[in-house]
Symmetry: C2
Subunit: 463 residues, 2 copies
């Protein structure tokens, strides 16, 4: 059988496939500061060519999008979405000498793993898809579907250019299914499927001295704190005014108003989900000892999935080096993000935030600078052939998927669910973790499973 | 007359004297990270030798103290206190190419100025004192007094080693007067005298994930903010709980309890002080447009001098670089300082702070790490021959001093006023500014006045 020959090829040529993964992850590509972005985009254009297609770089106001097509004359077409940018590694303490070294190391409990920025989020899964295509070629089988690629370089920035690209290229992006390759297994090997995402909105808050008080142009000696204002205090008070001290309830008026209850299909999925969902795994994977809420089962998961959040990603002001420095800084900054659930709209949330600051007397003291964001997304299961093909793949490989109505994290899937209207699935086998953290990793064993799952998925799409 | 010959020498040899100043300020000496500290200490030992005395480095648990003596057989002895450490320049934007270049540049309103870290705080005044001594030698006059030097390298760290040194060296530190050389003129040329200091206390607050919640060992993905705690929020709420949003009132129980009212002599000084005190100058020198308080005259100055303050010198957590990073940091830090007025004690304030955090539920979430501090100090005027000699110097040079009961800033003068019991004065002519800020400066014109004032002061001490 075709699938067995392909899976066998993947087992027998894993070393060569792993080198392809390394080729991609060793190339830094940090959208936050631009490092290696052009080189990485070109590498993907090359890989699309090696897979028998044609890739190109499409200019955007930001980093170019890698667009590609492999036309094999098949009746159906799959659109693969991916990203080639990764997070910075500044200030992170890795256990390997180089976060870009592609080093393989035994990780207790997981066996040999590749540790590298971007292996999990999200170069590993994307390259496994290319390796799956290679396996069809190697055994002399045609690809079951035509493939289109849309790989952006700004996912870690909130995908600012992707919506414009999709709007302007609706025609050539038409496809029958869409896939976002992703390691779908948790630390225990359980496979998870997510039928949507929350929408992130990143906003900088910048408090500065001005007509209201505080130093305007430079930090000044801290002994003046008794009679001059400090923008760092202003920022601290503004932030504190938005959230209860127990970190459970956002105090911005209207913040929760647009939330809708889970649908009937979602409630069904939740009831099934909690049969296999293990809160302990979530704690262990994040090295956290306690949830905010004393909830269990469906209540805990419902809180996680159907509540929006307000987070401080970073805050910085004044002197934070060694020793002491008595200082009133003239500027204090925080990056916050609002993570929106279904029915919440970025522009509306921004207005609520601005209204809150105005009402609390911070309007003239704090600049609100939104920089990236997009809305939440939701797809169904029963009416989604891509999701069905992926679930079938898992079952063929002996794993019953745990299906999540959506994920707490974010990806701009509203472009598929709302704009392009293509059935979309996020998935594949494999396990990795620690996105945005030091020692981001993926297991070698999971990599083989990932490649096999993509091969099977392609066959299942047209079965 | 002696004083005229010396003043003439200073005018005629200013270029050479300026080179001495540059010799000192071009040598970085950053106690926060150790840069150049040993070289700077040795330079001062050399200068004491050049002035005809003997200097040595006395070991401490931190940076050594430069101790020196110039014995000329005079009946009276002056102890000169100074510091050889300066603030870091990290992240500061200077208008000269090198904050350690000793560059002279025209500053609008001030004419030619030397811009360099440490010129104002406090190498410039100290070197002018040495130049004044050189002038006595050059014109063939003996020094009017014996001179002792105690120059520490940890003033910017809160002088942690100085108290121990003073306690252990009470005998050899005995003197009839003490002087801390300082540029005493404000931006308009007005001369100010300060009869004491507030006491600073620097404390780090470090919020970390732990048994209570939050990530324990590394930053994790921000999408978890909905169900995991964030130490940055914890720190923000803890800080906000300590201070009213209008930044006027500290909310730590007992914070203001130990304050005492101004003495009768202080009230006399305040009444005279406000005849010449110009709030506009304070605003302009700090590039601040508004005081916290709608107060004027004695009320404003009383608030400035007799109120303690709680300041955020710096705060840092999570990702604050370019672009976006969805992150829950596992640690968030702030450096705060409490600036104490007469009668407040560092240990007691620390306990009040800890009690406050405990009472507000932050006891298990935030580490309180005090690192530097000492108490406030106060001397009188009428009973202080050093202050009288300095005031007489100002008047001889045509300037009526504005006498402040104490300064809002800090120096460990309690060692003179409480431990050694030596009449002490802070002063000298000259003008500079922007301590702890970019473009720290001193005027060249003021430098000449400074050197002349030290020469006159030495003569006035024994007149």
């Amino acid at each position: 059988m075709t699938v067995e020959r392909i899976h066998q090829h993947i087992d027998e040529h894993f070393d060569a496939h792993l080198e392809q993964v390394r080729r991609a992850v060793r190339q830094p590509s940090i959208s936050a500061d631009g490092t290696g972005m052009a080189e990485m985009a070109q590498l993907l254009v090359d890989m699309i060519g090696e897979a028998g297609g044609t890739g190109e770089l499409v200019s955007t106001p930001g980093y170019p999008i890698v667009y590609g097509e492999i036309q094999v004359g098949a009746p159906k077409t799959l659109l693969v979405y991916g990203m080639y940018d990764v997070q910075p590694v500044d200030g992170e303490d890795w256990s390997v000498s180089d976060p870009w070294g592609g080093e393989v190391k035994d990780v207790p409990g997981f066996g040999p793993c590749l540790l590298n920025r971007g292996i999990f989020n999200s170069k590993g899964p994307l390259i496994h898809f290319f390796n799956a295509l290679e396996s069809f070629r190697a055994v002399g089988e045609p690809y079951p579907v035509n493939v289109k690629f849309m790989i952006e370089g700004e996912e870690e920035l909130g995908s600012p250019s992707l919506p414009g690209f999709v709007e302007q290229n609706k025609e050539r992006l038409q496809a029958d299914f869409a896939l976002f390759p992703f390691y779908g297994q948790d630390a225990n090997g359980k496979v998870q499927m997510y039928l949507g995402f929350k929408g992130p909105y990143f906003i900088d808050l910048i408090a500065r001295g001005g007509d209201w008080g505080g130093p305007v142009s430079r930090g000044i000696h801290g002994s003046n704190a008794v009679w001059f204002h400090n923008p760092a205090w202003t920022l601290v008070h503004a932030l504190a005014s938005m959230f209860t001290p127990d970190q459970k309830h956002v105090l911005i008026d209207g913040f929760y108003d647009d939330i809708v209850s889970p649908s009937a299909e979602d409630e069904e999925l939740l009831a099934k989900l909690v049969e296999t969902f293990t809160p302990e795994t979530e704690l262990a994977e994040n090295d956290v000892r306690r949830f905010k809420y004393d909830l269990t089962g469906v209540d805990l998961v419902r809180k996680y999935l159907y509540q929006p959040s307000l987070n401080i990603d970073g805050i910085n002001a004044g002197y934070t080096g060694e020793g002491s420095k008595a200082l009133i800084p003239h500027e204090a900054r925080a990056q916050i993000d609002i993570r929106m659930v279904k029915n919440m709209r970025p522009d509306h949330m921004l207005q609520l935030l601005k209204d809150h600051l105005e009402r609390h007397g911070f309007g003239d003291k704090i600049e609100v600078r939104p920089h990236d964001g997009y809305g939440p997304s939701k797809t169904g299961y029963k009416n989604n052939p891509a999701a069905q093909a992926m679930a079938e793949t898992y079952r063929q490989m002996g794993l019953e998927p745990e299906i999540w109505p959506h994920l707490g994290g974010s990806a701009p899937f509203y472009l598929f669910t709302e704009v392009l209207d293509i059935p979309v699935v996020l998935g594949g086998l494999g396990h990795g973790g620690r996105p945005h953290s030091p020692d981001e990793y993926a297991t070698l064993e999971g990599m083989k499973l990932a490649e096999k799952s993509y091969a099977s998925f392609l066959l299942n799409l047209v079965a």
